[in-house]
């Protein structure tokens, strides 16, 4: 449909249809955090298992939501699995940078506003890969919250 091809890229729909790392992990040893989008009722649960070396050796995603929040979570799970916690944090920054281009303080928790980060520096060496497909979301500001929901939840679980 004209105007929507930037939002609903094939790779996004693919992750939506066939979400990766879907499920639960036992807690403990895994950590768990929940994120809500009060706007549309979307809910993401992120399970994270980190080994002694600080490597994310397993991740699982629960909850439900729209194509954007689900595919973003799925792509995120792929991107962080096997990465160090430190790299995951850099990815969060990089992804938020990707999203914040047109972001304004339009609702929800406002945490997206004015990140003011050094995107180049922080995401140095980080490959967003498939996640680049979500770039089109910035043309639909209301959906940015959907795309960032899993990432905010990841940040939460990392901070615990």
């Amino acid at each position: 449909m004209i105007g929507l091809e930037d939002l609903y890229r094939e790779i996004i729909l693919d992750h939506y249809r066939t979400p990766r790392n879907r499920g639960e992990l036992e807690t403990p040893p895994a950590r768990r955090a929940e994120g809500f989008n009060p706007l549309c009722g979307d809910e993401i649960i992120v399970y994270l298992q980190v080994d002694e070396a600080g490597v994310i050796d397993d991740v699982a995603i629960g909850g439900q939501g729209c194509s954007i929040s689900q595919s973003s979570a799925s792509m995120m799970s792929v991107a962080i699995k096997g990465k160090t916690v430190e790299d995951a944090r850099k990815l969060i920054v990089a992804f938020k940078g990707l999203m914040s281009i047109h972001e304004t303080d339009i609702g929800g928790d406002g945490s997206e506003t004015a990140l003011g980060i050094d995107l180049e520096g922080a995401s140095e060496g980080m490959q967003l890969g498939d996640l680049e497909a979500l770039r089109g979301v910035v043309k639909f500001p209301i959906r940015i919250k959907c795309a960032t929901l899993s990432w905010n939840t990841l940040a939460q679980v990392l901070d615990e």
């Binding site: 549309c40 979307d42 939501g65």
Partner: protein
Amino acid sequence: MALRSTVKSDFPLLDQQFHGHQLVYLDSANTSQKPQAVIDAMTDYYETTNANVHRGSYELAVRATDALEGARAKVGAFINAESNSEIVFTKNATESMNLLAHCWGEHSLKAGDAVVISEMEHHANIVPWHMLRARKGIELRWIPVDASGHLDLSDLDRLLDGAKLLSVTAMSNVLGTLNPIAALAERAHDAGALMVVDASQYVPHVPTDVQALGADFLVFTGHKMLAPMGIGVLWARAEHLEAMPPFLGGGEMILSVTKDGFTTNDVPWKFEAGTPMVAEAVGLGAAVDYLSDLGMSNVRQHEVELTAYALRTLTERHGDKITIHGPAEPAERGGVMSFAYADVHPHDVAQVLDQSGIAVRAGHHCAKPLMDVLGTSATSRASLYVYNDKSDLDKLADALSAVDDIFSF
């Protein structure tokens, strides 16, 4: 349809395009659009009449006071209140319900007392009771919703046993269900409980007579009935208002203030602290005039016919793909149609429809407990009002095919 055919042209906002399509506004259960007459009434107020009320002795202030109290009288007549002093202006239905929970609740409930609500309530008729539970230790009981989208009243006697209050929506903002308020009020009274009606979705769409409904309290909100945002109403029987302590403290609501204390003004002003929203009241008065001119039973008939058309058309065009929640019979419901489309998430449905200029809401509609009952986290919702017609519903049916194109796999 009994409404005059020129209604749509009274609403300037509807005459615009989105993404290259004429706007089709199907989100009136969320907020309604405003006819020119309402917009003009507010503009005129600010250009000719604006002053603070109940305070000035000059002519302009007298006119502003008359404008406020005249609007109160219009609202009172619209719902057939016994007296204008039963009409309290608030900022929205949510404040009305909180006022009730604070003033009546704090005053008349004690730990262990039960308040009965239903599973189809809007958060405005849930959260204030949760908060009161936290403050006072009341018990909250829930009338279940059955598979047909009606209240399941089979256990009502037990739920009402020893209850002090029954608070139920007159029309569900998700399912469209019209609840049997007069009968519920009678059963509440028989059980020794008072009856609260959340009429936020009812007063805008159905002829309303508070005396016939037999309830004790009724709340609604201006912006869903062609009136401006920023104004709501609490109607209550005078005896209850008299007995209730005040809500917010400040100007307008006092007779006298000293360093030691204060005495309250008479009702309804006792509950209207601070400078009231006069322009919004004037707008609400104009909306009431507009709706009365159309005729509320014509409004209702229009929506029943349109709902019937919508249910038929959507089912014919989309068959099994679409599941419309709520009562199947148009006469038992309002024009609020929540639906699931295949397994496409409502947010995606709304996004695709927006691309065709169609505004529907996706989400939990501030009714999360009902979402739990429906076993979902969100629905898509198309809702109707006086300015909608069959062509809007045809366009909705068309645009849903685009949803199918993108998401069927």
